[in-house]
């Protein structure tokens, strides 16, 4: 595709349910990032992939959060046993040069945990 694609764009779930958020990066971009943005806040780094490996997963808030990337392309962020504080917009970005160059962001997945 032309840009970074994220799905779903909106997800409403009940506390305790699991959710999966998907990111389809720009073709050929080896670096992929997940960030979280709470209402009116900046971006909180979650995890960085280079190819299929994750050299930096230091931002994952708890062991309820996990992410994988397969085939050096699509990535899935999974949140297990969701809590209300998980409500946020989850943004994915991809890049050719990692943080040494421009990041291309998707439109985000808005998660609301009731």
């Amino acid at each position: 595709g032309a840009g970074v694609s994220q799905s779903p764009s909106n997800k409403v779930t009940e506390k305790g349910k699991d959710v999966e958020l998907r990111c389809d990066p720009i073709s050929g971009h080896t670096a992929l990032y997940w960030y979280r943005q709470s209402l009116g806040q900046g971006l909180e780094f979650l995890i960085y992939f280079q190819g299929n490996s994750a050299p930096d997963k230091s931002g994952l808030p708890s062991d309820r959060f996990s992410a994988e990337r397969t085939g050096g392309s699509v990535s899935t962020l999974t949140i297990q046993r969701t809590q209300q504080e998980d409500s946020a917009v989850y943004l994915c970005a991809s890049s050719l040069q990692g943080a040494h160059g421009e990041l291309f962001f998707g439109e985000g997945s808005r998660l609301t945990v009731l």
Partner: protein, 113 residues
């Protein structure tokens, strides 16, 4: 940790005026980038300035970098109502093999028609 911190948090100006936004950071960097976010949308890259550069221009945008003061500024000249958005600075810190951008909390710019 919050590497970049923008100042002011909010800015309201009249169309045609210039908007100046500042960013300070804490550790040595490879580059500093500015992004823009319209309400409810993803972030869009505006400009990147490397640690060995002092000033960069792109259209109506001018970015400066002072590594001795660990600060950067973004100037938008002749602002337009369409410039209304949130602006974020982001730094690529020198942390070896890992490569991630750390973002500030952003500046909300309102340009009044």
């Amino acid at each position: 940790s919050q590497q970049g911190e923008e100042d002011p948090q909010a800015l309201s100006i009249q169309e045609g005026e210039n908007a100046t936004m500042n960013c300070s950071y804490k550790t040595s960097i490879n580059n500093l980038q500015w992004y823009r976010q319209n309400s409810g949308r993803g972030l869009v890259h505006l400009i990147l300035i490397r640690s060995n550069e002092r000033e960069k221009h792109s259209g109506r945008l001018r970015v400066t970098l002072d590594t001795s003061k660990k600060s950067s500024s973004l100037l938008i000249t002749a602002s337009r109502a369409a410039d209304t958005a949130s602006y974020f600075c982001a730094t690529d810190a020198r942390t070896g093999a890992n490569s991630k951008l750390t973002f500030g909390k952003g500046i909300t710019l309102s340009v009044r028609p």
